[in-house]
């Protein structure tokens, strides 16, 4: 059945994507909702919640306020909180109720900015799209509003990491490993959007020679940086030692010739009946290439989330619904996916669990492996 899931959970929602992307930037993020979105976010989607403070709030929208369209209360509440907290910026996003009553978050943000003097922006979330849509719009907005036009191009070769959130990389040291790998590959890291960098570092992102897009969440921001500064982007995650070398070479080429590239999608054509990787397109594509590099086997990506053609290879398939996943799994020689996909994988098809925070939340958080720039030793498993 279309849009029906009997067994599988859904991915983290767009509101969680916004909060996750903006978490470390010193701004205030307000979800306009009765409640529920924030507890889902803090309990399941945000591993930093108990270790690191961030200004993430819920508006506690009431039925009467929703029916009456009382935007002024929201605007006043945000202004009062901002006066106390002095955030660097204010992001306002909505959940299903505001979506149903047609709340105009851009207009609300404009009113908040006029009232507080703090840069404010509204985001088009509705609690029903995936985290990628929310994180993508949030990072794109940060790139457009806070990256300084006068940022000078650095003298030494440099790069930004764009699209890193714990929803895709957990907090297991993977992002730090990507930073180290970049440095070892000859790049100074100007900023990481948005783990481990503050707004001041990100404001200098225009000085980089190339942007490394590590998830679909970062693609729109990278395109905005391309438009503003002419910086090329390269899509891929340095998963596995072999693919990490390929990706480093692609980054160096892009920095040299100014051309965008998507090494995560430049794979041998995976076919039905072969090995399949399930997940976010940039990471899954990179893992597929890493497996291909180590085993020589072509691997296809089964993508349950938003992506675009440039990030996919021939033979890849979208699996937006549970039925699609079950059908493609049944035809595969093996499936690499979050453990919560296991129940829709037929018994005879080998299943390799790889936890993804955005899908299984904290269920397997402690066992998310760091696969960056290391030999995957796949001969032991696949």
């Amino acid at each position: 059945m279309i849009h029906t899931a009997r067994i599988l959970p859904t991915y983290a929602a767009d509101t969680s994507g916004v909060c996750s992307a903006l978490y470390e930037l010193g701004g205030m993020t307000v979800i306009h909702d009765a409640s529920g979105c924030n507890s889902t976010y803090t309990t399941h989607d945000e591993p930093r919640w108990y270790d690191r403070e961030s200004m993430v709030y819920i508006s506690a929208l009431t039925e009467a306020e929703a029916v009456m369209g009382d935007d002024d209360k929201l605007i006043d509440d945000i202004a009062n909180a901002a006066a106390e907290l002095s955030p660097r910026f204010i992001a306002v996003c909505g959940a299903p109720i505001p979506m149903m009553v047609g709340t105009d978050f851009q207009a609300i943000a404009a009113a908040v900015e006029a009232k507080t003097g703090v840069p404010a922006f509204g985001l088009h979330t509705n609690g029903m799209r995936s985290y990628l849509a929310g994180a993508s719009e949030a990072l794109e907005t940060v790139a457009k509003r806070f990256c300084r036009r006068d940022a000078a191009r650095s003298k030494e070769l440099s790069a930004n990491i764009v699209g890193a959130t714990p929803l895709d990389f957990s907090v297991n040291g993977s992002v730090e490993s990507i930073r180290r790998w970049l440095v070892d590959s000859g790049f100074r890291v100007i900023s990481c959007m948005a783990m481990g960098s503050g707004l001041d570092e990100i404001s200098l992102a225009g000085g980089a020679h190339v942007n490394l897009v590590v998830s679909y969440s970062g693609l729109a921001a990278a395109k905005a940086l391309r438009e503003r500064f002419g910086t090329p982007y390269v899509a891929g995650v340095p998963v596995g030692a072999g693919f990490a070398r390929t990706l480093a070479a692609a980054l160096a080429s892009a920095a040299e010739n100014g051309e965008n590239a998507a090494p995560c999608a430049r794979r041998r054509n995976g076919a039905r009946g072969g090995l399949a990787v399930v997940g976010e397109s940039v990471f899954a594509g990179s893992l597929a290439r890493a497996v291909e590099a180590e085993t020589g086997r072509p691997v296809r990506v089964l993508c349950p989330l938003e992506t675009e053609d440039a990030l996919t290879a021939e033979g890849d398939a979208a699996i937006p619904d549970e039925d699609d996943a079950a059908r493609e799994f049944a035809a595969a020689a093996g499936v690499i996916a979050d453990p919560l996909y296991r129940p829709v994988c037929p018994d005879g098809v080998p299943f390799y669990g790889l936890p993804h925070q955005a899908f299984s939340g904290r269920c397997y958080q402690k066992s998310v492996p760091n696969l960056i720039n290391r030999n995957l030793r796949l001969w032991k498993t696949i």
């Binding site: 279309i2 369209g69 149903m100 009553v101 047609g102 709340t103 105009d104 851009q106 207009a107 404009a110 009113a111 006029a114 088009h124």
Partner: protein
């Protein structure tokens, strides 16, 4: 590009005014999109020779998926005016206002303006600004100006007052501004005086004065606007005059 939303009391002649204005723009060589924002989905009927286009809400209901191409939910009518109707949910169910927001989001996803590159976009909106959804056409990025259609009838003027107040309430949001009143005559007593008094009070000009005309009805019976049927008629010339005024202002603004 000029972008205009047409509001007014139910039954006052918004669709007649909007469709004739679209036809006039088209006859003046302009590329036009008309978007009907009423669950009845009959805004563009007289641009389509009495035919219909599949409303966006009907498409979603029938196919249980979003359209992938503009052509699936749009039809070219007289003068190549691109006709779109939001339609609405099953009568008595769902949320018509939300349907308008959904339609607009969809048109944005389909990059309607970027691909079609219209000179004029007209939104024909249901009776009153009853909720957030019906204010969607005047949000930033959609219409930049509002025409309020009224006759001299008391309830029509009352509705026009409400619409004008709603627009004023949104002044700090960067929404569309009220451009003026279109007097669509019903031949009530002292009609012009009443409407001009209202307009003066509201601080708005009467930008067009459309006479009561059997010609409009005659051509609508044939599934046409009067501008299509006979552009030389006095009533048609009123629509051309309104179109030219709006175009000239639009060009000056650019």
């Amino acid at each position: 590009m000029i972008k205009i939303a047409v509001y007014g009391k139910g039954g006052i002649g918004k669709s007649t005014v909007t469709a004739n204005l679209s036809a006039a723009f088209a006859r003046l060589g302009k590329k036009v999109i008309q978007i009907g924002c009423d669950p009845k989905a009959d805004s563009t009927i007289n641009l389509l020779s009495g035919g219909t286009v599949m409303p966006v809400m009907n498409y979603l209901r029938e196919f249980d998926r979003e359209p992938e191409r503009i052509e699936e939910i749009a039809k070219k009518g007289f003068g190549h005016v691109l006709c779109i109707e939001t339609g609405g949910p099953t009568p008595g169910l769902g949320c018509a206002g939300r349907g308008i927001v959904t339609t607009f989001n969809l048109l944005e996803d389909l990059k309607l303006f970027e691909t079609y590159k219209p000179d004029a976009v007209l939104y024909d909106v249901l009776g009153d600004v009853v909720c957030g959804g019906f204010a969607a056409p005047i949000r930033e990025g959609y219409a930049s100006e509002v025409l309020i259609v009224t006759s001299g009838e008391k309830m029509a003027l009352y509705a026009a007052g409400n619409i004008n107040s709603a627009i004023h309430n949104f002044a700090d949001r960067g929404y569309a501004k009220a451009r003026g009143i279109v007097l669509n005559r019903r031949n009530v007593e002292n009609e012009e005086e009443k409407v001009r008094a209202f307009a003066a009070l509201a601080g708005l000009p009467v930008i067009a004065d459309i006479p009561r005309s059997d010609d409009i009805l005659r051509y609508e019976e044939m599934g046409k606007t009067v501008v299509e049927g006979d552009p030389s008629l006095p009533v048609s010339r009123r629509f051309f005059a309104l179109a030219k005024t709006l175009l000239e202002e639009g060009e000056n603004d650019e």
